[in-house]
Symmetry: C2
Subunit: 248 residues, 2 copies
Amino acid sequence: MSHDDAHPVSLQCGDCPIRHRAVCARCESSELDELEGAKYYRSFEAGQTVIWSGDKMDFVASVVSGIATLTQTLEDGRTQMVGLLLPSDFVGRPGRDRAAYNVTATTDILMCCFRRKPFEEMMERTPHIAQRLLQMTLDELDAAREWMLLLGRKTAREKIASLLSIVARRDASIRHRKMRGRLSFDLPLTREAMADYLGLTLETVSRQMSALKRDGVIELEGKRHVTVPDMDRLLIEAGDDSDGGLIA
Amino acid sequence: MSHDDAHPVSLQCGDCPIRHRAVCARCESSELDELEGAKYYRSFEAGQTVIWSGDKMDFVASVVSGIATLTQTLEDGRTQMVGLLLPSDFVGRPGRDRAAYNVTATTDILMCCFRRKPFEEMMERTPHIAQRLLQMTLDELDAAREWMLLLGRKTAREKIASLLSIVARRDASIRHRKMRGRLSFDLPLTREAMADYLGLTLETVSRQMSALKRDGVIELEGKRHVTVPDMDRLLIEAGDDSDGGLIA
DNA sequence: CGTAAAGTTGATATTATTCAACGGAAGTGG
DNA sequence: CCACTTCCGTTGAATAATATCAACTTTACG
């Protein structure tokens, strides 16, 4: 079905780049040892489908590196992205054996996997895992609700500005930079993926990107590299609270 | 601030109508005894605000009866409903001391409350509560993502049909009826609340309700009582998968 | 090069919003 | 009991926003 696992990977949990943020974040060393023994890695190339909605899903996983998307579709092909999976994010649901969404690798990705049944048993025995998963799920629920506001009530221009703010924020957080003044980052999404995220057509995305560029809110080098001369200006364009914040 | 608690209520957990669905669903009788001792009831009248986004929130609660809404707003007043709280649904987030959303009573409601700190401590000790809360949160996340598809990609007519299907489904489930053939139910929302839920204006909601009525998809008695002569027809109008399903 | 994929832009069509007028039901006070 | 008001809902006409269809450009890549 796919050429994942072409390059088997081995990584000690102690050295794992997502050790402190993933579902295992709260585990103690003895708990980590058990996970260490059960885990296995899978990798997918950019563009590959990890799983189709409705398919049997006998594993759960954490994204170690790279970006994947969760999408839902209507019968006639209209599609809506419902989540963006970044390193440390969790895929799959304990207690459910079929995927509820399509999962697609946007860049090359590496995932740390566990067979579902053993993971579920481990969760029963290990409150630290369940606690962390609850916390992560609550965060995702907040993010989903924030996105509902965007989808239901923001204009196309505000939607684009919001997406750019979020990508900028994530990038600043990874590189330990402040969210002020001049910032630049790569946009890991095609115009079509942006459209699917924002509930727009790709033409509208393109037009609004051009408009933001024309108005000096952003600068573009090539298609994917964005520079924001004034972050506050972008946040205002996004229409969020003046504190620039997601959840209050 | 409000005239809640005008009629103090007392209810044994064993007799509680949401006993088997709420956050306490998995608790054993000894655990229930502990909850019994810590709980208190609050009631709100239709239209009252339970809590404002950003306010200090020192309790968590389950909705026992009635309906409440979770909404988010933009500075200029645009508002989006991000959740509908039905009996057994949980309000508040362990580990967070400020409300992230506005909570408003749509009908008169009764809530079973716990002070937040004691509840958090109880959760640490009682995996049954944490497990159930995780399950409920995952369900809410699925519902939120289903709603994202609606907000981002459905037409106004499909949005209305989807909302009616969901209310019909809930009503059928409560009254133990099948989702087939002729069905009728009360709509617990004003046109404005429907609009806030669906990311539309109230005029568009009104027009589409009229259109569905004109086309024979629904019948209306008064403004709030809806009869669906053919449920399958409504599901087709909603644009969901032919199996009529939410999550696959 | 030549081709495919991604992106841009223009013209036009469609959809939903906005602004405005109006109708009916429920509640209030004389 | 009747005017009066308010809230909720409906409908129409004009407008604005976004989608659709289509042509064309740029970039990446064999």
